[in-house]
């Protein structure tokens, strides 16, 4: 079922008019009806009381002279009053003198009773004494029906209904024009709104019919449409611009991306080649040095046997040649050992962990105790930090540098001092000696493998120690360099990235962070 809310405005207006009319007319009608009912009843009581009095008055003589015939004739006149049901005249002793009744058979009537009673069928019976000169000469009884009230009510109802119908019809015709002035602009608006909603065409405008609130509404609606149209246009333009810009940028990005991909591929290719060649190289160095050890040991062993068993048995020249061969073999063995060691740096997956450099220095002191004692070296250090590295390699780093300082000592007993200072994200370590120093022209060369500054008769060694140091520092992400003047001692510096936390942190914590365990140390 359709509720009033969903019905068109035209029907609503009609409904409002009709409802208003109905309420007004029905209220007025029923108000008048009720008032009339009250007034009419009062008037009716008065009327019939008066009529009863007249009947009584007319019959004083008939009662006085006991004339039933004349009395009856008098009463017959009441025929003219259709609502009189019955009239009876009684003598003073209560016997009936005359009677008139509308109905056949007549109702029984009696002189005794109240002056006014309402009997069945809504009839009212009035009793009045008939007085003559202050004396009662009889009693009159008059019964009337009150159908007149309901007849009147019916008539009133019909009039109210008729008035309502007529008024509705007239109102309908009269308001037709008025309805048009309200309904037309609204349906125009609704129609326009529907078109706009359906087609998204913001160029449509609602027709303005009047200058009242509906006209204002229409104007406001049209204004709104203009604004929407404007912003829609701008929005479209912005969207198109954005689209164009995005397309352009996409093209650029695609180009860029393609270039980058190409570059990356090239890089990856190079890196892979490099890694492969590096691995090949390391493998080659390791295999070469490792596999060379066996035949070399053979040569060295048998050369030593020859030197021991045939010493003095051959001529002096043979002894000297044998000595050269033994020495060559020894040096070759040392070279191969060093080379193996060098190739091992970074050849395996090594485990980095927080490493206490103070502890490392203690180990180095233990490892080199004999050398330190023989050379009467004074090794001192400041407080050293904890760094993230492989402890064995750090040990080797310090050991190589300190051994280097001892090896290239001058005439005085060597003094070596190790320090570390924080520089931003880095720890800068230094190992200073009072040795022979290095000519600045060679400061780069010394870190290259097998580069020696001195002949092997002055200083022993294969020229591989500093190369190993360089490799270790590089692997830790730092760099190594030397500051020195010939004859003025040398100071080696290297940098190691600092750990994020302070130096005071214990190693245990870091093993947790990196998921590595101390017992996974290599060699």
């Amino acid at each position: 079922m359709r509720t009033l809310r969903d019905t068109p405005i035209r029907k609503k207006l009609i409904a409002i008019v009709v409802a208003t009319l109905a309420v007004a007319i029905l209220l007025a009608g029923f108000g008048i009806m009720i008032l009339d009912g009250i007034l009419f009843r009062t008037r009716m009581v008065r009327d019939f009381s008066a009529l009863t009095k007249i009947v009584a008055d007319l019959n004083t003589a008939t009662l006085s002279f006991d004339d039933p015939q004349a009395a009856r004739e008098t009463l017959m006149a009441l025929k003219a009053r259709p609502h009189v049901v019955q009239t009876c005249l009684f003598r003073t002793d209560g016997t009936e003198l005359a009677q008139y009744s509308r109905e056949v058979p007549a109702r029984a009537c009696s002189a005794a009773g109240p002056t006014e009673e309402i009997s069945a069928g809504d009839d009212v019976t009035l009793r009045r004494p008939v007085m003559l000169d202050g004396r009662q000469v009889g009693t009159v009884l008059l019964t009337y029906d009150r159908t007149e009230v309901s007849e009147r009510r019916l008539l009133f109802g019909a009039v109210v209904l008729g008035t309502f119908t007529l008024a509705s019809l007239l109102a309908f015709l009269l308001t037709a024009k008025l309805r048009g002035s309200i309904e037309l602009p609204i349906s125009n608006l609704a129609h326009t709104a529907a078109i706009v909603a359906e087609t998204r065409n913001y160029q449509v405008r609602a027709e303005k019919v009047s200058d009242d609130e509906l006209g204002l509404l229409t104007g406001a609606f049209n204004e709104m449409l203009s604004r929407i149209q404007l912003s829609d246009r701008e929005l479209r333009r912005a969207a198109e611009e954005l689209e164009a810009r995005v397309a352009e940028r996409t093209r650029e990005l695609e180009t860029e991306l393609a270039e980058r991909r190409r570059a990356e591929e090239a890089l990856n290719r190079q890196a892979a080649e490099l890694a492969r060649s590096n691995a090949d190289l390391q493998q080659f160095a390791y295999v070469a040095s490792h596999d060379l050890q066996e035949p070399l040991r053979m040569v060295f062993s048998y050369m030593n046997l020859i030197a021991e068993q045939y010493s003095g048995k051959l001529d002096a020249e043979a002894d000297e040649f044998i000595g050269y061969a033994v020495d060559g073999a020894r040096r070759m063995r040392q070279l191969i050992t060093d080379l193996l060691e060098y190739s091992r740096v970074g050849s395996r997956d090594q485990v980095w962990q927080p490493t206490h450099c103070d502890k490392v220095l203690q180990d180095v002191r233990a490892n080199l105790s004999l050398t330190l004692e023989e050379s009467r070296t004074v090794l001192t250090s400041s407080t050293l930090p904890v760094i993230l590295a492989e402890p064995a390699q750090v040990t080797q780093l310090f050991q190589n540098l300190i051994a280097n300082g001892i090896k290239f000592r001058g005439s005085e007993p060597p003094r070596i001092h190790v320090t570390a200072t924080r520089e931003g994200e880095w720890w800068k370590f230094s190992v200073a000696d009072n040795g022979i120093g290095i000519d600045p022209a060679h400061h780069q060369r010394i870190f290259i493998i097998f580069q020696r500054l001195h002949d092997r008769t002055s200083y022993a060694g294969t020229g591989i120690g500093l190369a190993i140091c360089n490799k270790i520092v590089n692997r830790l992400g730092g760099r190594i360099w030397v500051e020195s003047e010939a004859g003025g001692g040398a100071t080696f510096y290297f940098t190691i990235p600092a750990m994020n936390s302070a130096t005071g942190s214990g190693p245990g914590e870091f093993s947790d962070i990196y998921g590595r365990r101390n017992d996974q140390e290599t060699e």
Partner: protein, 179 residues
Amino acid sequence: MRLSPTRVAVLLGLCLAAEACAQETNAPPSEYQVKAAYLLNFTRFVAWPATAFADPDVPLTICILGEDPFGATLDRVVEGETVDGHRLAVQRLQRTPASKSCHVLYVAAGEREQAKLLRGLDHETLTVGEGEGFLRAGGVLAFVLEDRRVRFSINLAAANRSDVKLSSKLLNVARSVLK
């Protein structure tokens, strides 16, 4: 003469109203008892001119000319009654009354030369007699018997000539009216 039960009832009512015939309630009312009551009732439907009474204290006098057929009945009927504020009095006469002495004159049936008698009366007297002959003689009201019931007739011409005005109600109840 026999009276119908209705008649008795009327008399009873009249007696009760008059409070004068308590002793007679058991006996059936006689013709003259009824007539006596009617005489009183006539006074109630009749209007005398103001000149008929010298002052309010003057009683309304009912005169009986000739042989009195009522006896004590009439006296008992009118006793204590008032009409228009006037007491009632009964006078019995043997000859024509003096002017203005009678308000109602009952002429007994035995009187002769009724016409002459009536002509000599003043115009302020209501004349009541017996039989239609009384009316023809110029009387205003006359008792008649009809079906053994006491009724009365009116001579309207005589009434018009008189200064005494009869109520239309009286005319309505009258048996016949001479014009």
